[in-house]
Symmetry: C2
Subunit: 210 residues, 2 copies
Amino acid sequence: MADITIIGTGNMASGIVARAATAGKSVQVLSRDAGSAAALAATVNGTSGITGSPVEGSIVVLATPFEASKEVLSSYGSVLNGKTIVDISNPVNFETFDSLTVPAGTSAAEELQALVPGASVVKAFNTVFAATLAEGEVDGQTLDVLVAGDDAEATAAVVDFVKGAGLRPVNVGPLRRSRELEAFQLLVMTLQISEAHPDYNWNSAVKLLP
Amino acid sequence: MADITIIGTGNMASGIVARAATAGKSVQVLSRDAGSAAALAATVNGTSGITGSPVEGSIVVLATPFEASKEVLSSYGSVLNGKTIVDISNPVNFETFDSLTVPAGTSAAEELQALVPGASVVKAFNTVFAATLAEGEVDGQTLDVLVAGDDAEATAAVVDFVKGAGLRPVNVGPLRRSRELEAFQLLVMTLQISEAHPDYNWNSAVKLLP
């Protein structure tokens, strides 16, 4: 039985799988594509399967876009009761890079929590880019991972994972703080794509000092 | 005629007055209290007066709470046409520290802009605390000042001022990005007041790396 299940095989999934190995966690990778899941799992001697297979980890990382994350939670449903679900998504309108796709007054994380009331959704990793996650640092400084959740035990589990992975967790409070985390990352993404900011690329990061 | 008019005499006003002096700018300080204005202006050989006096600076910094800033702009009205108005406010519900006092889908900066359509409102300094502004750095790193504005010339003037003051300006785009700047600073303030975060005090800062 793996400690952590990661759903998805994209750049963020790869980064989180590598970090899980650093933290000494065993990993299960699930994906709609069995071959991709197996290939990523093999990098850390993990197990793999297609999405829909039994979830082994007590922590489940949705390393998928927001819309896909909704589908995953809807299809698993109450099977996930008691698990810690990590939402890393940024519900950005990628056509305009100018607004979020969730209504004002809520967040992707809160919408996901509503789909699985018996599980505990924790927001994390949405303010880090894949390249920085792989490096674990930016500009010689440890990467900050901002974490928000309503369930103390689930949030603590994610904070411990982040710390064990060699990153700096910052518990920013209840799950509704995801509204601000998602809003700010929209702003950060607008800098990445702006020609006025050649220095901000996908290897930049948000840091809370000190 | 002063280069910059600063309205207010609180901690943020003091920090900005000091930074203006660093930038080689002449300063006018206005306040409802003439004595406080004169005392602050005297620290940089500036001029002073009560709020309502003629505004000298082409840049006017509203170093006042959001509600007071609204009153200032309403009373000055079209007299401010053509000027660059710097909004530093955080429209936080200070009773709960859990929400903003502006409706979702807008920002304090945009609401202020609506009061003075002939002037150009620029958001700046809302993500820095007074103590860090006085120091100019946190943890040995130059303070970031995130700047948002719709008028290119006005925004450039504020960016130049910030740079001249020895800080690092980051132009984050149009004035509506103030929604994200104000949202994120709410989150940062919740950390300051949280007993769970003894390391985050009013001398912390948001930094974009690298």
